[in-house]
């Protein structure tokens, strides 16, 4: 059974750098329309062992990358509070664009990336409605070196998206 772990922004920030969540004063975001979560695989005992959190450790490894990354996380957090998140991203410094698309069961599935102009840091996610709720499934943080989305990133994101779309109501949501 595929598992989604609900994650708060403070947890992501704290993993990126100890003490970083304190920069925001610990406020709780206003009501989420889209719940932010990340996949846990069988071997993941804690969310810190998840692919997403490992990707933060591996790719967001200096202050300059961190500076961009936190802005992407911050944008995702606020976008999660509005229905039309594409409208939210219009005109702000963080851009939300399709990084990879594919057809599954006759439907076009889109994996999105968040990025800042001229910066190489990316945050990959895809939106999913299941179990009467809506989710932003955050898949990877990445420091991109090429113009196109790397094959391994696209493959991983596609496999995860298919897994959760197919699972539908069988997805297990972990608090």
């Amino acid at each position: 059974m595929p598992v989604l772990k609900l994650i708060g922004v403070p947890l992501i920030l704290e993993h990126a750098k100890k003490g970083l969540s304190k920069a925001l004063g610990g406020h709780k975001a206003t009501s989420e329309v889209w719940r932010i979560c990340t996949p846990l695989s069988d071997g993941d005992v804690t969310v810190q062992k998840s692919k997403f959190f490992k990707s933060i450790t591996e790719d967001i490894d200096d202050a300059s990358k961190l500076k961009t990354f936190v802005q992407l996380v911050s944008a995702l957090a606020s976008a999660s509070t509005v229905e039309n998140y594409h409208e939210f991203f219009r005109g702000i410094a963080v851009e939300c664009k399709e990084a990879h698309g594919f057809n599954h069961r006759g439907t076009k599935v889109k994996i999105f990336e968040l990025k800042r102009l001229r910066q190489k840091e990316r945050l990959y996610f895809f939106p999913l409605s299941a179990k009467g709720m809506r989710f932003f499934i955050v898949l990877l943080a990445h420091h991109k070196k090429d113009e196109t989305t790397p094959k391994n990133v696209a493959n991983y994101c596609e496999a995860q998206a298919i897994q959760f779309i197919d699972a539908g109501e069988k997805i297990y949501i972990q608090e």
Binding site: G26, K28, S78
Partner: protein
């Protein structure tokens, strides 16, 4: 300089750039999200404040260091309250824990009464519990922290 002051100074210097980037974007994006949630557009904020739409777009870009006057003005245009609180660093997280505990207790109580047949876990309950409050009260709580 006292060792304590020196320690705080180093910490602030180390974190300055990242904290600044995070705080600027966090506040601007919360304001924009609230605007959209209320069905308003940048042009509405511009008209209510008597400024250009381009100005409002710049405020919401997430890159600007918004002044207090600007933040309060946007809150006025949104017809919301902006709160700035000063809290000890540990207090904020304690409050979040408390909120979570209260929610959990409430969920257990409702479940015990059998009044939530359609909700299977705390997560779903939290989602339902959160949404009615979407239009209430505060624009957000921007907390200035003091070191203990």
């Amino acid at each position: 300089m006292s060792p304590k002051n020196r320690e705080v100074q180093v910490s602030i210097q180390d974190n300055r750039e990242v904290f600044s980037a995070l705080r600027r974007s966090d506040i601007a994006y919360q304001l924009k999200a609230r605007m959209l949630s209320k069905g308003l557009r940048s042009v509405d904020i511009a008209e209510r404040l008597g400024v250009s739409e381009a100005n409002v777009s710049r405020w919401f870009s997430g890159s600007q260091n918004l002044s207090l006057d600007t933040m309060y003005a946007i809150a006025d245009a949104l017809e919301e309250r902006l709160c700035v609180l000063l809290r000890a660093k540990d207090e904020a997280s304690t409050l979040i824990q408390l909120e979570d505990e209260i929610l959990h207790r409430d969920w257990e109580r409702q479940k015990g009464k059998g009044s939530l047949p359609n909700l299977s876990n705390l997560s779903e309950y939290q989602f339902v519990a959160d949404n009615p409050a979407a239009n209430d009260g505060f624009i957000s709580e921007f907390k200035l922290e003091r070191t203990a």
